[in-house]
């Protein structure tokens, strides 16, 4: 196997303007166009979960990100928004389209998270939901008669809302992110960041980053999944900025002759998309404009695969138990709710 380029055989490789014009042009790079066509035809899927106490502006942020009423609250009009007694998981899908690119966006809301007096194990239902999506995909994948395109309901990204206390992470935050970062891409954001001054914000961010490091929590983009030096460079810059301090708004105001998304207060108007005011634009660029494919790839080729390995090994361990062989590789901590998964059978 040796690498041959067009230059080896024809000194000047020039792009053809049409078939048969340039005799050195084979046309291999036309596959890019073919892939693009196929992608446009199929459309894309994206599943985002938002987690955080009520009142942190989760719904508004989603609406701001996708410039549309995509949040659950916008869809389900409830007379009174009561804080639920238990954590609920609510999933809403939308078909959105931009310049011919169609996307099925699913926003998964988790009302009730962190709102109880006793929040022990509040991460459990969320973990279960995420694992259930992996399970559903796995079931489809191991069918004999498989669908041409397996519907992807796996959670690609979980945006975790940190309340703007300005001090440090709360035990609930640490607990949640520690557990969930192992099964899903977590993007932490500082919610309602307009209550922090720039200095307070920087201090808070540094503190948070330290705590994440100290607890071994790997948020997106995870260092170990950097593919090459270029990737690492880009991702390092992002890692130095996390968590993004965001402000959400779906209201437009007139600022300097332009209509901008913002929050109007007595002391000024906060422009959501102005990076001098808040880091919403960075979050949007990361999630949507540059790293969306990467987020999905990490979900499918790493998180899902890890789930699959655990799941398939679990079958063997159950069999091993029946055969009286000792199992030494199941840690009680890592053992997810297999009872829930087994109940599927």
């Amino acid at each position: 196997m040796h690498k041959k380029t067009m230059e080896d055989y024809v000194p000047n490789v020039s792009k053809a303007s049409g078939p048969g014009v340039d005799f050195s042009y084979v046309g291999i790079d036309a596959i890019l166009e073919q892939m693009r066509r196929k992608a446009m035809k199929q459309g894309f899927e994206l599943n985002i979960m938002v987690v955080g106490q009520s009142g942190l502006g989760k719904s508004t942020l989603m609406n701001t990100l996708f410039k549309s009423k995509v949040s659950r609250k916008s869809v389900q009009a409830t007379a009174q928004e009561k804080i639920p007694k238990t954590i609920e998981i609510k999933s809403i899908s939308h078909d959105i389209e931009e310049k011919g690119v169609r996307m099925k966006l699913t926003v998964i809301d988790t009302p009730g998270f962190g709102d109880q007096i006793n929040n022990e194990n509040c991460w459990r239902p969320i973990m279960k939901f995420i694992n259930d999506q992996y399970e559903a995909y796995l079931q489809e994948e191991i069918n004999i008669n498989r669908k041409k395109r397996i519907p992807d309901s796996r959670v690609h990204c979980c945006i975790y809302f940190i309340p703007p206390t300005g001090h440090c992470l709360r035990p609930l935050d640490v607990e949640f992110m520690r557990r969930l970062s192992k099964v899903v891409n977590i993007v932490p954001v500082i919610a309602k960041a307009d209550t922090l001054t720039l200095e307070e914000r920087d201090f808070f961010k540094k503190k948070i980053r330290e705590e994440l490091r100290a607890n071994g929590i790997d948020v997106y983009p995870q260092k170990e999944f950097d593919e090459d030096a270029e990737d690492r460079m880009i991702n390092e810059k992002i890692r130095e900025m996390i968590p993004f301090a965001v402000v959400g708004s779906d209201q437009e105001y007139q600022v300097n002759g332009r209509r901008l998304l913002g929050r109007k207060t007595k002391w000024g108007t906060i422009e959501v998309e102005n990076i001098a005011h808040c880091e919403f634009a960075y979050l949007r660029d990361l999630l949507i404009r540059t790293h969306m494919q990467n987020i999905k790839d990490i979900t499918s080729s790493i998180h899902y695969e890890m789930y699959r390995v655990r799941r398939l090994n679990e079958n063997n361990t159950v069999v091993a138990h029946a055969n009286g062989m000792p199992e030494h590789h199941l840690e009680s901590e890592e053992k997810f709710d297999s009872s829930c998964a087994a109940s599927r059978f």
Binding site: K15, D95, E97, T106
Partner: protein
């Protein structure tokens, strides 16, 4: 307890109030693929000498290695070579598989078998990877055949029965693109009739060749036009000839020059257009979603897996695996037992052999010993008799000497004479 709420199967369409930015998704996807590189695998089936290697060289504008194969192969083997090509920022791992010795045997009944086995082996390798517990599908080197170029000899009459049989066996396993090889051997009018004959024979025998897809409106028109030109009549050449003021790929004859890239001369450009520039991705997709799925389905069903049992209850995968596993363990044990028995048996046999040999050696030794003893005895006896003779001779000699002395002392020479005369 948790509550789920999903807003129906058909998600609602929502208008956007501004530019969000996910229109960059196709670019993101393409960039990822460019970083990973692409794989494309072509299988060339056809008799020796139909210009398969030359056509590959011409298609990809490069000289792949290999000498022309001999015609005396005992069976059909498949030779596969992988090359890394690059054009602008696209890296392609191209694998070209050639059928060596196809059509050369006197009895061609089994010719198609090695081809089918090869294609199945690639599917099997992928399936094995997919079924692994720890798998790396995204970095797996896909060796499944994406396109099969079937080279038809330019007889001008009809398809050979070998061609029909082979294509029929392959059409459910691979995308077949039939081409008429060395088509400069046929005149234009004969070619048209030949193509029609081939197409009708394929249809009447139910051979499913690859149809260029017509569901995407941007390529539907060109694809459907090209579908009507199948099979493509091609000519391959890597030699260049000066026509006008340009160097073109051509084959030069005393009566004229056949230009490879001249659409009036042959369909090479059409083939390149369809195979590479328009439908490469579709060929890969069809291989994965249709041919591979079919193989996988058949294989899994063969192995005894089912999706649902007769009562429409989903089979527990766990149970099936367990059953299969026990079956497998049972077989394994049985095999082990068999092997052990065989081993013990062999050892016994060998032991008996060795004992036999030992016995023989002993016998031989005893025989030799006896022989030796006999010989020794003989020699001893001989020696003894010789000794006896010697003694007797000595005695006689002594006696004679004594007599001589006595005679000399007693009388004169007369006695001696008398003795002498007497002795005479």
């Amino acid at each position: 307890s948790t509550l789920w709420f999903v807003a129906g199967e058909g998600a609602r369409a929502v208008p956007l109030a501004g530019h969000v930015g996910f229109d960059s998704m196709p670019d993101q996807l393409v960039n990822k693929s460019v970083n990973h590189g692409f794989c494309f695998n072509i299988l060339c089936v056809g008799e020796t000498g139909l210009g398969k290697s030359t056509l590959m060289d011409t298609l990809f504008n490069t000289k792949f290695e290999g000498e022309p194969t001999q015609h005396n192969q005992p069976g059909v083997t498949l030779k596969s070579n992988t090359y890394e090509l690059q054009e602008s920022n696209v890296r392609l791992k191209l694998t070209v598989v050639n059928t060596v010795g196809f059509g050369d045997q006197i009895n061609k009944e089994d010719s198609y078998k090695s081809i089918v086995e090869f294609i199945d082996a690639q599917f099997e390798a992928y399936l094995q990877e997919e079924l692994k517990i720890k798998r790396t599908l995204h970095s797996y080197h896909d060796t499944r055949i994406h396109a099969c170029l079937y080279f038809i000899a330019p007889t001008g009459h009809s398809l050979k029965s070998l061609d029909l049989v082979t294509m029929k066996k392959l059409d459910s396993k691979v995308n077949i693109i039939p081409i008429v090889a060395k088509s400069d051997a046929i005149s234009k009018s004969e070619l048209a009739k030949f193509k029609i004959k081939i197409t009708s024979e394929l249809v009447s025998n139910g051979v499913q060749i690859y149809q260029f897809p017509t569901d995407d409106e941007s390529v539907a028109e060109i694809n459907s036009t090209m579908n009507s030109h199948l099979p493509f009549a091609v000519v391959g050449s890597t030699e260049e000839v000066k026509i006008g003021n340009k160097m073109v790929k051509a084959r030069q004859y005393p009566w004229g020059t056949v230009q490879v890239e001249n659409e009036n001369h042959c369909d090479f450009v059409k083939l390149r257009e369809m195979l590479i520039r328009v439908n490469m991705e579709d060929l890969r997709e069809q291989t994965h979603t249709r041919h591979y799925e079919l193989y996988r389905r058949c294989k899994l069903e063969e192995m005894g897996f089912k999706d649902t049992d007769p009562d429409s209850k989903p089979f527990s995968l766990q149970e099936t695996y367990e059953a299969k596993r026990n079956e497998f363990m049972g077989e394994l044990q049985k095999k082990e037992e068999e092997m052990r028995q065989m081993f013990v048996q062999r050892v016994k046999e060998k032991e008996a052999e060795l004992k036999e040999a030992e016995k023989e050696l002993h016998e031989k030794f005893d025989r030799l010993k006896k022989l030796h003893q006999d010989e020794k005895k003989k020699v001893e006896d001989k020696r003894k008799s010789l000794d006896d003779e010697l003694n007797m001779f000595k005695q006689k000699k002594t006696a004679a000497e004594l007599l001589q002395n006595q005679a000399q002392q007693a009388g004169g020479s007369t006695t001696l004479k008398r003795d002498k005369e007497r002795k005479k």
